[in-house]
């Protein structure tokens, strides 16, 4: 005999917490679609300059730009939730008798995020225009 609990099919609309949870979970759909877009770009790159410029033209289509902006918002929400749950998922860091506050760990990760952003964009532009 098995127990099957009743489930409201629209449970994720019932409270604010559930809605934000669902938005975080949905962020992965935008990640998968972008990964496939990048794979398509790599395939275009290997098949020659003409396919590459078609792929680039697709990235510049207004609808695709709007889609990209939506994807950035969803994936940034994943970033925010990931960074804020990290201190709760890892063992506490002790500096002598002083416990490193959770806030410091979250801020440290954001500092890492912006460092990666600046280094990546900076190196990319520098490499392409030197």
């Amino acid at each position: 005999m098995s127990y099957k609990p009743e489930m409201d099919p629209k449970w994720y609309l019932k409270s604010k917490v559930y809605r934000w949870y669902t938005i975080r979970e949905a962020s992965v759909l935008f990640m998968v679609i972008y990964c496939i877009n990048l794979l398509w770009g790599l395939a275009a790159l290997s098949s020659g300059e003409e396919s590459w410029s078609h792929w680039l033209a697709f990235q510049c289509h207004p609808v695709v730009i709007i889609w990209s902006i939506i994807s950035i918002l969803f994936t940034l929400y994943h970033t925010a939730t990931w960074f804020s749950m990290a201190p709760r998922a890892m063992p506490p860091i002790w500096l002598g008798n002083f416990k490193l506050p959770n806030k410091a760990i979250v801020l440290g990760q954001w500092a890492g995020f912006f460092t990666v952003a600046i280094v990546l964009i900076g190196l990319w532009i520098w490499g392409a225009t030197r």
Partner: protein, 116 residues
């Protein structure tokens, strides 16, 4: 063998992918999907010969494989568990299809970066 014995591996990939996705994916989309199309960064950054030369570097290949495939493992772990949230009973077949798609993205990414 019970499925729970496999869980640590998928959990590890979920964690690794979560970090990569959090750190790099929004910036990557911003660059390729917004800054380049709007002409905010120079168009040479997406030049065919430049990108081809860039991707022929072994470290760039490895970086791309890590970014794309780890993100895929992260995403499909959440999709598989999301099926449970939507009321679908999780079976080994459903898990195998989910993680199989992540594996497919990994293989495709390795193949595509190494033929360039």
């Amino acid at each position: 063998m019970k499925w729970k014995h496999n869980e640590p591996f998928f959990w590890m990939m979920f964690g690794a992918g979560g970090v990569v996705a959090a750190m790099v994916i929004p910036i990557l989309i911003l660059f390729v999907g917004v800054l380049f199309p709007l002409g905010i960064v120079p168009k040479e950054t997406m030049d065919f010969l430049f990108i081809q030369q860039l991707v022929s570097n072994i470290f760039v290949k490895l970086l791309l494989i890590i970014i794309i495939s780890f993100t895929a493992w992260h995403a499909f772990h959440r999709i598989v568990h999301g099926l449970h949230d939507l009321g679908f009973h999780l079976t080994t077949t459903k898990r195998a299809i989910g993680y199989g798609l992540a594996l497919l993205i990994t293989i495709a990414c390795c193949y595509l970066t190494f033929i360039i």
